[in-house]
């Protein structure tokens, strides 16, 4: 179990460049084969999910209106929470990646879809689809490494306030919807003076408008509909939202923060070949093992590795290709991080706690290694568009 999270660069040399290229070819082949099968089956799956999610929401909200009866309140909160989880994860996140663009339905197109929580879809498309998936786990470029709130990599700065980060993490877990909503606003940079307040307006205004409508819906309109049952509807909606927040936090934190998951520094991006990009996606991600319901409820982010390799492949196909991806990684000596939920979650929390304390000798050793590797580097170019686009 390693604690060092600044990944040493893969060794140079034509042999390793060839190995990386071969790695890329095999993964590209899996992708092409999987994409060629995408069609009616995927459309039917999504429609089934949509029907399930919407019926669950109607049933849940309906039951909460009659929440004076405890079993109905419990069932209502549970069903509403399930519908929110499905909407955000299996439907929303995947549709926003453009996985279902092929269906030709403008309501399900990644560029148009808006999902049912406070984060505006435009901002998510920018911070997640673009920034996170391009600069995955690169400290200083991927804001998902800590979200500007937590120190998740030893190379990130430590201040005395960082000692309290387990509390921040708990707060983020309970209010994850709000955390995601303000993610693209880069509030931490505003607070430290690196970004002017005036720039907040452009993104902040649509976010607040959307959040206001959703808050009104859950905490004003639906309670009002129930008349005297308003407090119970309110409580039920709070429960459903917090439940969704906790679950989403756990799944997402298990994606890039368990034990042995690598973070990278900016030099990793320089002249990164396609094979090296694939390598960073695998090394920076972790899978969760579990039953089928866990995969569906996680939006198949339980297969974070496959998702990062092929973000536009319909997510429900990830379990089908996982065995093959795992086998390719094994043959190329690439670690494939996959453990049950409780172990990945424990690893993520260990990382939060460990990094609450200032960095230790491993950090210094790792930095020395990185500096040495940087000095000896010369890479073939895959594309410099990462730099250009940044």
């Amino acid at each position: 179990m390693t604690h060092s999270d600044v990944a040493p660069r893969p060794p140079t040399g034509a042999h390793d460049e060839r190995a990386l290229a071969a790695f890329a070819v095999e993964l590209d082949d899996i992708y092409r084969r999987a994409m060629s099968e995408v069609g009616e089956e995927d459309a039917r799956y999504l429609r089934r999910m949509l029907r399930l999610q919407r019926r669950a929401e109607l049933a849940g909200r309906g039951a909460l209106q009659l929440g004076i009866f405890p079993p109905l309140w419990l069932a209502g909160s549970g069903l509403l929470c399930l519908s929110k989880v499905l909407e955000n994860m299996e439907i929303g996140h995947n549709v926003l990646h453009g996985q279902y663009d092929f269906m030709g339905d403008p309501a399900l197109h990644g560029a148009r879809y808006d999902w049912d929580w406070s984060c505006p879809a435009d901002q998510w498309r920018h911070s997640h689809n673009y920034l996170h998936h391009t600069f995955t786990n690169v400290v200083g470029r991927d804001r998902d490494v800590g979200y500007g709130l937590l120190r998740m990599a030893e190379s990130q700065a430590w201040t005395p306030l960082t000692l309290l980060q387990p509390i921040y993490a708990l707060g983020l877990m309970l209010a994850f919807e709000a955390g995601v909503a303000v993610h693209d606003l880069e509030l931490n940079r505003v607070l430290t003076g690196r970004k002017p307040l005036s720039e907040l307006r452009e993104l902040g205004a649509p976010m607040l408008r959307k959040a206001a409508r959703l808050l009104a819906k859950d905490y004003v309109l639906f309670p009002l509909l129930a008349g005297p049952g308003a407090p119970l509807v309110f409580a039920g909606n709070v429960t459903a939202n917090v439940g969704r927040n906790v679950w989403a936090f756990c799944v997402i934190f298990c994606g890039h923060f368990p034990d042995d998951v690598q973070t990278y520094d900016e030099d990793a991006l320089e002249h990164e070949s396609r094979g090296a990009w694939y390598l960073r996606q695998v090394g920076g991600s972790a899978n969760i093992e579990g039953p089928r319901w866990l995969h569906v409820l996680s939006g198949h982010l339980s297969h974070q590795i496959e998702h990062h390799l092929f973000p536009d492949l319909p997510a429900w196909r990830y379990p089908r290709i996982a065995a093959e991806v795992r086998e390719v990684c094994a043959r190329h000596g690439v670690e494939y991080n996959s453990r049950p939920l409780h172990r990945q979650l424990a690893g993520a929390w260990r990382r939060i706690l460990r990094n609450a304390l200032p960095g230790g000798p491993e950090q210094r050793a790792a930095k020395r290694e990185v500096r040495a590797a940087r000095a000896a580097r010369a890479r073939p170019t895959w594309t410099s568009m990462l730099k250009r686009a940044a």
Binding site: E40, A43, R54, M103, P106, A111, K217
Partner: protein
């Protein structure tokens, strides 16, 4: 051009208005709709209704195929029963029909081939094209009971109001569809003016009986012209290429007193339009264009540019593809492997609107060129003149 003055929602003609609709009820309905929208946000109420039952909708119009009639070898009539929120159309208008084929939605424009009559089913008469996925589906695979989606009736190709005393219909091929609807509307309204109808057809004429009976009911003449086929039961026949303006003038000497309504192959419509334009009567022309807009278009030759075709660059997807003459930006993006949102594919519905970051494009509806940067354009009706970068 016919599509420049769009009236996106059909006016409800007197006589087919739902009885009992009062202003108060409409306002109450609108208020109720607003509340539902707030409760469903960010989805629409229809998203939830459809999850319960595919036939329940508020805004979307869904329709069940009630009957399928194969009129000729390649023309099929679909009789549709739309959901209750379908507003009656005006004769000559069209709809966007969306059908799901193997999980993928395909949307195309088709004219309604019947006049709006209370209680009568709506009908689309569709000619199958070689490469037309939806038209071939209609001919080969569609079954009674299948569900499709419709837009509300669209289009400004309708009988002028008030209806002129003297009319001239010039149609070719499947262009007779909206004109048949108009002829039936004239019959229903007891039109007593003078109508001449010139129809040219290469193969079998679909709905010929209905065209004839409408003409007989109006006491007017249907001129049928064959271009390249042999048939016996025609009023007059002439075996040559498409009719020219001179032919029309010869057939209808008093064309200057008639209002022209034309729909059909581009060459035929251009001939009819030119005839009227020469006589200074361009304002008395209504037309509807259903062929792919770009089939004739070639980017104009420019000095200083080399002969190499321009490139289309897709900024977000990081792809590039060479343009071909007559191919729209939408088609190029699809050739590059993308699936941009689109609807009618002919400049009406705005679904394919996308930001052009830079480059000069040709608008095939208006013929205008535009080199503005960061401009929103409809991909289906523009093609590149210079290298174009799209925000796709």
């Amino acid at each position: 051009m016919a599509l420049s003055a769009l009236d996106a929602h059909a006016r409800i003609d007197a006589g087919v208005r739902a009885p009992g609709a009062s202003a108060l009820r409409l306002r109450g309905r609108r208020w109720g709709r607003d509340v539902l929208s707030w409760l469903a946000y960010p989805r629409s109420p229809d998203d939830y209704l459809q999850a319960l039952n595919a036939n329940w909708t508020l805004d979307r119009v869904v329709a069940r195929i009630e009957a399928i009639q194969h009129e000729t070898r390649d023309t099929t009539s679909l009789y549709l029963a739309p959901s209750g929120n379908w507003r009656p159309h005006r004769a000559g208008q069209h709809v966007l029909l969306t059908a799901t084929l193997s999980g993928v939605d395909h949307t195309r424009c088709f004219s309604l081939s019947v006049a709006p009559r209370l209680g009568a089913p709506m009908r689309l008469t569709i000619k199958a094209h070689e490469a037309g996925r939806l038209s071939c589906w209609v001919r080969d695979t569609a079954r009674v009971g299948d569900q499709v989606q419709l837009s509300q009736a669209l289009g400004a190709f309708v009988l002028p109001d008030p209806v002129p005393e003297r009319l001239l219909f010039v149609s070719g091929g499947s262009g007779m569809t909206p004109l048949l609807a108009m002829a039936q509307a004239l019959v229903d309204a007891g039109y007593e003016g003078s109508l001449r109808w010139i129809h040219s057809e290469r193969t079998e004429v679909a709905l010929l009986d209905e065209m004839r009976s409408a003409c007989v009911a109006l006491g007017v003449t249907l001129d049928l012209h064959r271009t390249g086929a042999e048939y016996s039961s025609v009023i007059t026949s002439r075996d040559r290429g498409h009719l020219t303006g001179a032919d029309i003038a010869a057939l209808v000497p008093d064309y200057r007193e008639r209002h022209l309504l034309t729909c059909g192959p581009r060459g035929l419509m251009d001939a009819a339009r030119a005839l009227y334009a020469e006589a200074g009567l361009a304002h008395r022309v209504g037309q509807e264009d259903f062929q792919p807009l770009l089939s004739r278009a070639r980017p104009p030759a420019r000095d200083g540019l080399d002969d190499e075709a321009p490139q289309l660059l897709l900024a977000r997807s990081r792809r590039a593809i060479r343009a071909e003459p007559g191919v729209s930006l939408l088609q190029l993006a699809e050739q590059a492997g993308l699936h941009p949102p689109h609807g009618c594919r002919r400049g009406i519905c705005n679904t394919c609107k996308c930001t052009k970051r830079s480059g000069t494009v040709l608008n095939h509806l208006t013929g205008a060129e535009s080199d503005a940067s960061n401009e929103e354009i409809r991909l289906c009706i523009h093609s590149p003149i210079t290298d174009v970068t799209l925000d796709l």
